[in-house]
Symmetry: C2
Subunit: 324 residues, 2 copies
């Protein structure tokens, strides 16, 4: 049986020098992290619980990826450069194969973003993964939710709805062929945090407000509207549906693109004058960007179809404590 100290040493403590912003990592009471002078620290925590955020028996490699991806996505939505993260892990048993795969999935993504594991905690208990992530950015460049302005375009990165489509297939609500099943599963289990795009938007001063779409666009965009005291018109037919979702009937396509959840794409608002620069930023980092609506001075969210006619989709965002 692995001891707690062996577990940390074997799977999470890496035999190499700390990164440029870390001068004390795992193994002391605290990690010591040094943001670049003149930058502020962006911090986010996400807790993922078995049977809630992932299924029992989830593949540990992709779980390791996803747990960090959802945190990197929060940094992306702020426009911050990733520095490091802490990992708190509650495990029913210390199972070597599981830990090996989980830590490989975690570190593959961490290394791709130069984001270092600086500390954490391990304990016995129901499976629970809590990551707190740290990034940095120049003060004033953060893509805050309260910064949208009337007249801004609303943009979406990548595509929406394929993760939700996978869930519908799992629940036997739709049938998918093998290729679409695999592709949508990849979107659900291994989302791509849009870190490079977020940084280009923030560092170039291209966007005003941003957030990452985790609970569905329609529910999430309301946080920008409320914080910025504005409204929006969203063209539901302009939403970039995922490749598998694009092959589904229009009703399903609209619902899953507008309110699917688990997309981890960025929704951001930007002045009309930045359209060309935003397209160039998307090209530079290989991430599609699509204009899907605009911010209005009038409060409220108005969903329209391709002809500009109002749509009533009966959508709701995800709420962890809702009776459903």
């Amino acid at each position: 049986m692995l001891s707690e100290f062996d577990l940390i040493k074997r799977y999470f403590q890496r035999d190499r020098a700390p990164g440029p912003n870390t001068f004390l990592g795992i193994g002391d009471d605290c990690a010591l992290l040094s943001p670049t002078p003149g930058k502020v620290l962006a911090i986010s925590s996400d807790m993922l619980v078995e049977d809630r955020h992932f299924f029992a028996g989830a593949d540990p490699f992709t779980l390791g990826h996803k747990c960090l991806a959802v945190n990197l996505s929060d940094l992306a939505a702020m426009g911050a450069r990733p520095l490091g993260f802490t990992l708190a892990l509650s495990l029913p048993v210390a199972e070597p194969d599981w830990l090996d795969a989980f830590s490989r999935g975690l570190f593959a993504l961490a290394d791709a973003h130069g984001c270092e594991l600086v500390g954490g905690d391990t304990t016995k208990g129901p499976l629970n993964v809590c990551i707190t992530i740290f990034g940095e950015l120049a003060p004033g460049q953060a893509l805050r939710r309260d910064a949208a302005r009337a007249g801004d375009d609303i943009w979406i990165s990548g595509t929406l709805g394929d993760a939700r489509l996978w869930l519908a297939a799992r629940r036997s609500e739709v049938a998918l062929d093998a290729a679409d099943h695999a592709a949508t599963g990849q979107r659900m289990h291994a989302p791509t945090p849009r870190v490079a795009l977020g940084r280009l938007l923030a560092e170039g001063g291209l966007a005003h407000a941003a957030l990452d779409i985790s609970d569905g666009l329609v529910g999430d965009v309301k946080h920008i509207l409320a914080a910025s005291r504005v409204g929006a018109v969203l063209d539901v037919d302009a939403l970039p549906a995922g490749p598998a979702l694009a092959r589904q009937p229009v009703g399903l396509r609209r619902r899953f693109a507008a309110a699917g959840g688990d997309d981890y794409e960025l929704c951001f608002t930007a002045p009309v004058a930045q359209r060309d620069a935003i397209v160039a930023a998307g090209t530079a980092c290989g991430t599609a960007v699509t204009r899907v609506g605009s911010i209005t001075a009038e409060p409220g969210l108005c969903l329209v179809d391709a002809d500009g006619a109002a749509l009533d989709l009966q959508l709701a965002g995800w709420d962890h404590f809702s009776p459903g």
Copy 2:
């Protein structure tokens, strides 16, 4: 039924301006924290799980205190000034009375240390509280585990073993009168993080190495010895037993003071020349400090009694994944 957003707003989002080092708190993708120029950030995470770190049905006010206290204790052991923390909370149900008491216990301690809740996450699941805390200190002042030197005195703050005594009473291994039961329960459930002492030791350059004692002194001090590549002689009879433990037989007193766990006192090493300054620092912050041994060039930990004779106590530190 409370929604997730109502829950955060009602119990955790406070109607007041952000603190001096925070310029964006709860409600965005990330919190923004600005350490004082020239300081480095000290970061620690602790995850507390029901039936492992606290009993089912634990009083929520003291649980809120304890979850933050164990994190503040990590900052204390580094000598850092608390800035803020994130809270990730998994709850089986959103129970208003529980949340009210938990948040009051949490904020009472947070306010006493000027430590602000800057963000976090809430979800449904088995009860689990994960706090990540941030402090700051001057580079070079951190009380690192690898900084002990041969000839250093070993010091302990406060008293040891009363939390372990409460656990023994709960397990009916010892009988305590009502006053001792209450006093030891207080030590177990509402430990006092030694933040002021840690800061005085670090900022005054008084100590070399430090850690906080959570798994028992004898197990924990070995982390300093290993990191610093030194040994130690500890006088077990010099250990400051808690008031209730001091009334117990000598065998129990030695075992629980040396290896009880849940003490959250500081163990630190310091040059002999700093003895008077350390006593003065203890007096200045109202925390007892006791010399209990010394660091040796020779590796290994030697426990001795008041006469200097070797003791074999058959002690072990706490390991979350040990078969026991």
